[in-house]
Structures are given as structure tokens and as C-alpha cells.
């Protein structure tokens, strides 16, 4: 590993190239279970973001003091403690959202993306890069949750940002956007199959964009070579 840390590369990794939800396909259980609406997705996404960032920070700080043999149990202990702290805080300050998300908050512990980042990145890197890595990985996960939540809420109940007061207090009660008034509801989108379908489409979309970018880069790289060849050929003929 080089001395200069490429923060752009780390961020790009977390948000896109190595996105925990779309590429690594980790943490699918909460991803599929709670994304019925934007507010649920945002609540769980923020909780995950906080856990992964703080666990990366702590793991990076203690990385030299922990021997290889007890590395994993120590990391799991840190993650479990952080998750429980977040759970207590949510119970105290966003009580209704806490009751809606229920078991999926403690289940953040089992999100492999978090232990994966602690072990693969934070235990080998300094504090700042690890923090950035945690932040962007968490943000990448949060954004995917949000996208799925928004699509499912829009298709399923015809609204966006309903019940945001669960997270942001009474002032957010009016944030609901009724996109389709008198929408009869589309059941599949709210039920678990809808989560699989939307997640599948998102992954496909990412792959389409990626291959598009790749093709454009290839043509850009190929062109000057072709051109120079043609010059040489014409030169040979005349």
C-alpha cells in the first residue's frame, strides 16, 4: 500500500465500484425487509452508516494492539456494542420508528458489510482513510436503501416521503408528496417480492451504466491508434 492515500478512490469504491449492496450484495436482509417506504429505509440506512463509520474508526485506532488470533471476536464485540448503543438512542429519540424497524436494528450486527470493512480495510489502514471508507461504504448502502424505498413507496402507495415525522419530528409531517392521488396501491411493490425485483433492476441498471462507461473508454482509447495506422497504410500505398 502506498503512503499517499487516494481518498477519491476510497470514496468511489464505497459509493459505486464496490458498493456493499449492489456489488458485494451484503446486508440484503435489512435491505429487502425494511425498504417499504423512504422513512424506514432512511432510518435503517442512517443507523447502519453510523455503526459502520464508528466501527471503522475504533478498529483503525486499536489495529496495532489486537493480535491476529483474537481480531475477529474483538471486532464483533465492538460492532455489537455500537449497534446496541444506536438501538438505545433510537428507542429514546425516535420511538415510533424504533417500533416499526423492530428486530432489524439489532440485526445490523449481522450485516456482513460492517465486519467486512472492519477486517478488510480498517484493520490495515490509518484513522482518516478508515473513517472515509466507513462513511462512503455506509453512504453507498444508505443510497441504495433510499432508492429501493422510494421506488417501492411510489409504486406501492403512490406517495413519497410519507411519515417523515417519525424521524425528523412534527415539522416534517407535511413533507408527504402525493404523487398519484387516489392511487389504489400496487401490492407486489410493498411485499417482499417487490424488494427483490426493484433491487434486481437497480443492479442491472448499475451494470448497464458500467458497461456503457467501459465501452466509451475503449472507443476513446482505440481511436488514435486506428488513426495512426490508417495514416501509415495510406503512406505505404502511395
Amino acid at each position: 500500500m502506498s503512503d499517499t492515500v487516494d481518498y477519491r478512490q476510497i470514496s468511489k469504491n464505497g459509493l459505486w465500484t464496490n458498493n456493499p449492496a449492489l456489488v458485494q450484495l451484503l446486508g440484503l436482509c435489512p435491505l429487502l425487509a425494511v425498504t417499504g417506504s423512504v422513512v424506514n429505509a432512511l432510518g435503517l440506512g442512517l443507523a447502519t452508516l453510523m455503526v459502520v463509520t464508528s466501527s471503522n474508526m475504533i478498529v483503525s485506532l486499536i489495529r496495532k494492539g489486537v493480535s491476529d488470533a483474537v481480531r475477529l471476536p474483538a471486532f464483533v464485540m465492538i460492532i455489537a456494542a455500537l449497534t446496541t448503543c444506536i438501538e438505545l438512542l433510537m428507542n429514546a429519540f425516535t420511538y415510533e420508528l424504533y417500533t416499526i424497524l423492530g428486530i432489524f436494528i439489532p440485526l445490523i450486527v449481522t450485516n456482513c458489510a460492517i465486519l467486512g470493512r472492519a477486517d478488510a480495510f480498517a484493520s490495515k489502514n490509518k484513522l482518516l482513510p478508515s473513517t472515509v471508507d466507513g462513511l462512503t461504504m455506509g453512504l453507498g448502502f444508505l443510497l441504495v436503501l433510499l432508492a429501493i424505498g422510494a421506488v417501492r413507496e411510489l409504486l406501492g402507495s403512490g406517495t413519497l416521503f410519507a411519515n417523515m415525522h417519525l424521524l425528523f419530528g412534527e415539522g416534517a409531517r407535511g413533507w408527504t408528496l402525493t404523487v398519484f392521488p387516489n392511487y389504489p396501491g400496487f401490492l407486489v411493490a410493498i411485499l417482499p417480492p417487490g424488494a427483490f425485483i426493484v433491487a434486481g433492476f437497480l443492479i442491472a441498471l448499475k451494470n448497464v451504466i458500467d458497461s456503457g462507461i467501459e465501452r466509451r473508454q475503449e472507443t476513446r482509447r482505440a481511436k488514435p491508434i486506428k488513426g495512426s495506422k490508417r495514416v501509415r497504410t495510406t503512406g505505404a500505398i502511395s
Binding site: 493480535s67 483474537v70 474483538a74 464485540m77 438505545l88 429514546a92 429519540f93 420511538y95 406501492g156 400496487f186
Partner: protein, 222 residues
């Protein structure tokens, strides 16, 4: 050599456990009061929805009555529960009874049923259910106002045989695509009203003087 490394590692893990436990204990101490407040506010909000604050003068949360065990089956309760009483000038004007419909589409539907002294429903709210989103979950007030159709109804209004969904020849609407859920809720509300009727003396003692304790003694034990 091996023993030393085991000892060192376990010591290290023990330190970790201590530190994380300390962190948790600290967070718990900091959030405990707030959690209690939030839980109390949520419980109170559910009660106030059924009996508005201006309609009673006592503390709904504190003024409770333990449900005698013979009533558990009728109310669908496995582990008993508390009846909340609303009073005006010491007279009980309404009660809020926890009630569970055991036969929802996907399991039990937990609700609160408020009943006025004259036997009419002051309100019904579903607390907790696992009905199909988009179909059966319309019993929840946040999804549809169907549950308000109980307000003001009583055992004779509509008559007992019409306490059913329209498809079964009753007076209450079903939802498109879901009849099992409203059927379960209607039946349980009716059973709760019957419970109130049968236990009138316990729930609504005649005057304030022979309230609380003395009523329990005068309830027929034969």
C-alpha cells in the same frame, strides 16, 4: 509459549468486554429516562385517541384495573392485562380494554377498545398486527379510517346478528380483497362489548363511594 499467548489474548478480550460493557452501561444510563418518557408518551397517545383528554379528569395511565382471569379468554388475552379507566368527578365514564382478535389473516390482532358508560363504543384502535400490507392493514387508522365506523355503536346497534361484514349480511364494510381481517376485528369488538355488559358492576360501579376496592368485593362470587 502457547500458554502465554493464550493468557495474553484472553486478557485482551476481557479488556475489550469490559470497555464495551462500560460503553453500553453509559449509553443505557443516558437514555433510560428518555426511553421511559417515550414509551409512556406512546401509551398515553393511544389512550387519548380513544378518550380525548378533555373528556376525563384523572390520569388514564395510572388509573387501572387488573382484568380478572375469568375474562381473559373472552378478551383473547393470554397473559391478562390492564383496563384503563376514565373518570369525571370520580365517576367512571369510560373504560379502555385491551383485546386481541385471535383469528386475523396472519395471526393475532392486538387492539384497544374504549367503551362508554352507556355501552357505546368510544373508539377502537389496532395496536399491533401482521395483516397483509395494502389489504388487511386497512384496520390501522394510518391506512384507512374504517376503524372509526365502530364509534358510537353498541350491542343493540346494530343488532347482534348484523355485527358482521356486509358480505356476511352485516352492517360493516369489508375491504376489497380482505374479509378475514375485518371479520376478526368486528367479532372481537362485539365480544369485548359483551364482556363489558356482563361485568358492568366491576367496570362501572354505581357511585364514587363504593368504587375501586369495595366493588370487587360486591361482584358476585357465586
Amino acid at each position: 509459549m502457547l500458554g502465554r499467548s493464550i493468557g495474553k489474548n484472553s486478557l485482551l478480550l476481557a479488556c475489550f468486554a469490559l470497555v464495551t460493557a462500560g460503553l453500553l452501561a453509559g449509553t443505557y444510563q443516558l437514555t433510560r429516562d428518555q426511553i421511559e418518557l417515550a414509551e409512556r408518551a406512546a401509551a398515553q397517545a393511544a389512550l387519548f385517541e380513544i378518550i380525548p383528554q378533555e373528556q376525563h379528569t384523572n390520569d388514564l395511565l395510572e388509573d387501572t384495573l387488573v382484568i380478572p382471569q375469568e375474562g381473559w379468554a373472552q378478551l383473547g388475552l393470554n397473559f391478562g392485562g390492564l383496563i384503563h379507566r376514565a373518570r369525571q368527578n370520580d365517576q367512571v365514564t369510560a373504560v379502555i380494554i385491551p383485546s386481541v382478535a385471535p383469528d386475523g389473516y396472519s395471526g393475532a390482532i392486538r387492539m384497544l377498545v374504549g367503551v362508554n358508560r352507556e355501552g357505546t363504543v368510544s373508539g377502537v384502535r389496532v395496536l399491533n398486527h401482521r395483516e397483509t400490507p395494502g389489504l388487511g392493514d386497512k384496520v390501522d387508522l394510518s391506512r384507512s379510517d374504517w376503524i372509526l365506523s365502530f364509534d358510537g355503536r353498541a350491542l343493540g346497534d346494530p343488532p347482534a346478528e348484523r355485527w358482521a361484514v356486509r358480505r356476511d349480511g352485516g352492517d360493516f364494510d369489508q375491504f376489497t380483497g380482505a374479509t378475514i381481517t375485518p371479520r376478526a376485528v368486528i367479532n372481537q369488538v362485539r365480544r369485548t362489548l359483551e364482556y363489558v355488559e356482563e361485568n358492568r358492576e366491576l367496570l362501572f360501579p354505581e357511585s364514587a363511594e363504593n368504587g375501586n376496592v369495595s366493588t370487587r368485593e360486591t361482584t358476585p362470587s357465586n
